[in-house]
């Protein structure tokens, strides 16, 4: 049994006492997964480069027109949506731009989930808050979450720019006309998909920042 696959064959008995082999296998496995993650990030950024540039330009145009951004997702993706919103609203460098994470308010999320059903927790907020200059950004790994698709449809109907992050083959997000920019991370691993989505989101933010700076006549580029 090779070192890299050794961890797949657990000891049958509970008598294993030397953790050295396991630790070596774990470290090797960690490095292998990290390399896969990097390779996926690279291929994803390359595949999405033009779409990121176009979406960043459109987002900058909308921010300049007074638009706000709403991000949302479920579970781990909801936290990635929160990181994405924080990157816009409280950047370490560059212009802060109005961005909100729609899962942040437990009163609103539980009220909507309880009263009208979980499928509408984000779309009802879009109905309440959004104007036609705004931007809706959904984070999913399957691309099929009903609550996200419902919110994206509502947003598109109201003239918002809609962005979807998905994995696998993109699911319904990739098919829907309501999703204007769909970024698909071509992987079967939820973890690796999220790691690439984080970098894609970062790249989208950096592109938006450069476009905002260019629009405002600053020396183009920011960082």
């Amino acid at each position: 049994m090779s070192e890299s696959t050794g961890f797949l064959y657990p000891f049958i008995d509970a008598e294993e006492r030397d953790s050295g082999t396991l630790l070596t296998d774990l470290a090797g496995s960690a490095r292998q997964k990290a390399r896969e993650s990097s390779a996926l990030q690279r291929s994803t950024l390359e595949a999405c480069a033009e779409k990121v540039a176009a979406a960043g330009t459109e987002m900058a145009r909308r921010f300049a027109a007074g638009g706000r951004m709403y991000s949302f997702g479920n579970g781990g993706s909801s936290t990635d949506a929160a990181t994405f919103a924080a990157l816009f609203a409280q950047p370490v460098t560059g212009r802060p731009l109005p961005a909100l994470n729609l899962a942040a308010d437990q009163a609103v999320v539980t009220a909507l989930g309880n009263d009208v059903g979980f499928e509408l927790v984000f779309s009802r907020q879009i109905i309440a808050h959004a104007a036609s200059t705004d931007i809706a950004v959904a984070f999913s790994t399957s691309g099929n979450s009903a609550d996200l698709l419902s919110a994206l449809r509502e947003a598109s109907k109201r003239g918002l720019m809609t962005v979807g992050f998905a994995g696998y083959t993109g699911g319904e997000m990739a098919e829907s006309d309501a999703v204007h920019y769909c970024f698909v991370v071509d992987s079967q691993s939820i973890h690796r998909i999220q790691e690439s989505q984080a970098l894609l989101g970062y790249q989208l933010w950096a592109t938006t920042q450069r476009c905002v700076a260019a629009r405002s006549g600053a020396e183009g580029g920011g960082r």
Partner: protein, 255 residues
Amino acid sequence: MTAGAVGATSVAAAVGITPDILDSGLAEDLAAASLALARRFSAGATMWCIAPQWEPHAHHMAVEFVHPVIVGKRALPALALTSPGVVAQARVAVRAGDIVIAVAAADDAAVLDLMRRTSAWGALSVWIGSGVRPDGGAADHVLWIDDPDPLAPATGRFVLMYHLLWELTHVCFEHPGLLADDPAACGEDVCVTCSDEGRPAEVIVPAAGPFGTALVRTATGEEQIDTTLVGDVVAGDLVLVHAGAALTRVGDRHE
């Protein structure tokens, strides 16, 4: 679309993707931390997740362990602590044997304060971050990315780190023989905290008068100790206890 072209030119190079983002040192640190986590979880630990500057990371770590992405993997007790007074929040939440995991910069005052208390609480500490490293011994396991870019927390590298921590922890569960001998509150090499050499303790109630004793918390529970040697103490102070007496203070005075 002139502005758009700016973005298209900067792919990959601008965002610093390196082919090998996890060096062997960090991989070994991750492996060791994962085994320690698996041992603690096996013994009934709850994991408390903290990220004062990047709160979403605390929530992501918690949901990762509580609601695994792979169907059939065991749900593990993990909770995010996000109150502004995170030390006070953790003090009541954390029980002996638990895990405290933070995503924070090395100079995060709240996390520094929290991490130096974990040994008195009997908790295993894990610190994830990037940039300048915390001092040696700042946490039981330091998982660090030596990249000074202040934007590193938003590029997915921390997400990768706790994803790997989760994945490797579950691999450890397949090795029950290695989980049974959890050295509880002790390091694996030296077991200073279990002998009575000088155990870290946090003051709960100071002595009422010059001849009274103070109530303190240690990894093994609450006890009354003599604090004459270290002078006045206030609630929250950290001291080293030996044979029923505080020998010395640890670190700066609380507040």
